[in-house]
Subunit: 263 residues, 2 copies
């Protein structure tokens, strides 16, 4: 995000990400100044950003490891705060990749008990290393039953349409299933009776506002949280792309933009 | 409801309707006393109810017109209270039958501005008579656009699977679509992007707890709210059934149980 209207209720609440006239996104967004019709992204030597959309990266944070906090970090932090996660909360993280690992670290630092739900047994050790208290395989019916109705909120990082039923079963009365990844139609029918029977919520979230973005940077600095990253030069992009095509490796590639200039 | 466990978090919160061990429902519910395996419903000369599940009908209420408050009334009142509807709130009522008309009256009495959304133009006058400030046809694209992002909460009384998209478009940031009627799979895909883009909630609600049930009776008495009903004898059941098969008439049939005994 590099700009927003600054006048609607969302902007006035510091939630520029939900600007009612549409925030100007970094990539292919409509530039409000009218000098260029579209924004061209952050992979460049310089970028024009409205003053209020600049954040201060605390000196305690490594610049490269801080970069994904501005996307994966705030994407997980904002719903944790919105759903009032704190000491004693029970948080589920559905899917364990770059978003999931940040979610575990942030939720733990906020004082929550964290359960990772994953389709892949291969992610168990990684999730525990990130700090998860429990790791559940989606295929583990006994485990799902043991944890039934136990979670206050589940942050879903699953990037495609999926059946919500097994996840909703893990939520307590008034619990929320927060869709962060699947920004597409959910083709598996949702049972209205499950929503009514325990008053659970299906909702979503999208990055965060500017005050919250500064807050998550400061929070990460004071809690020693960094993204797991691999720093690459621009000439490593194709290799990284291939690696990502094989599935989320659980860390973020960060491109050192200084390498954009020929040596 | 005639009983619940009395010990789980829901029961201790006075939300016996969400009892974690399952409340004992009036019809075909499992009787916790074990003396009879199943409950046999309220259409009888007498009924056994656990003490805490008895409410006091205020003398200001007509007994017959009060009866549906214990179902349609509490079904609408509970989500209005849960979603903190009060003066200045903007409430939508999707579908206008017996539930919808109670919803309009209760939301108006709570101080809200009320918009009814209906598929049938025939319901317009009825909805306005009940007190609706605005009535929108689902087919009226201009009207839907004018009211886009205007509502805090929509109570959906639509009894079958339906496309949520036009309704979600009416909700403000953080608004909630509360499913009361469609306790079956919603087969039209829900777009995760709509949920993320404005952080709207899809949720449900089911009757109410005992304290809230007493509260809605008292509220109706003090605000002069009654259900629209037609009182019939047991010998009028077949006619009433046929009438209902043709669609919700917008009022409730109430059976005078005294007519169960032969004269």
């Amino acid at each position: 995000m590099v700009d927003s209207c600054g006048e609607c209720a969302s902007c006035l609440d510091g939630e520029q990400n939900y600007c009612e006239r549409g925030a100007t996104m970094t990539y292919n967004g409509r530039d409000k100044t009218g000098t260029t019709p579209r924004t061209f992204g952050g992979y460049s030597a310089s970028i024009v950003v409205t003053e209020a959309f600049v954040v201060s990266v605390p000196s305690a944070l490594d610049s490269a490891a801080a970069a994904p906090i501005l996307c994966a970090g705030i994407t997980m932090y904002s719903p944790l705060k919105h759903h009032r996660v704190g000491a004693g909360s029970r948080v589920g993280i559905a899917g364990f990749g770059g978003l999931g690992s940040m979610g575990v670290k942030l939720a733990k630092a906020l004082g929550a008990e964290v359960t990772v739900i994953t389709r892949s047994d291969a992610k168990f050790d990684e999730a525990r290393r990130a700090g998860a208290d429990h790791v559940l395989a989606l295929s583990d019916r006994t485990g799902l039953k043991e944890h039934a109705r136990s979670l206050d909120v589940i942050l879903s990082t699953i990037p495609t349409s999926h059946d919500l039923a097994p996840y909703l079963g893990l939520l307590r009365r008034d619990g929320s299933y927060v869709i962060l990844g699947a920004i597409e139609p959910l083709t598996t029918p949702i049972h209205g009776g499950i929503l009514a029977g325990r008053r659970v919520n299906i909702t979503g979230s999208m990055i965060g506002g500017m005050p919250e973005t500064q807050e998550v940077l400061d929070f990460c600095a004071s809690h020693g949280i960094a993204s797991d990253i691999q720093l690459i030069g621009v000439d490593g992009i194709n290799d990284a792309y291939e690696r990502l095509s094989g599935g989320d490796p659980g860390y973020r590639f960060v491109i050192d933009m200084a390498t954009l200039q020929p040596a």
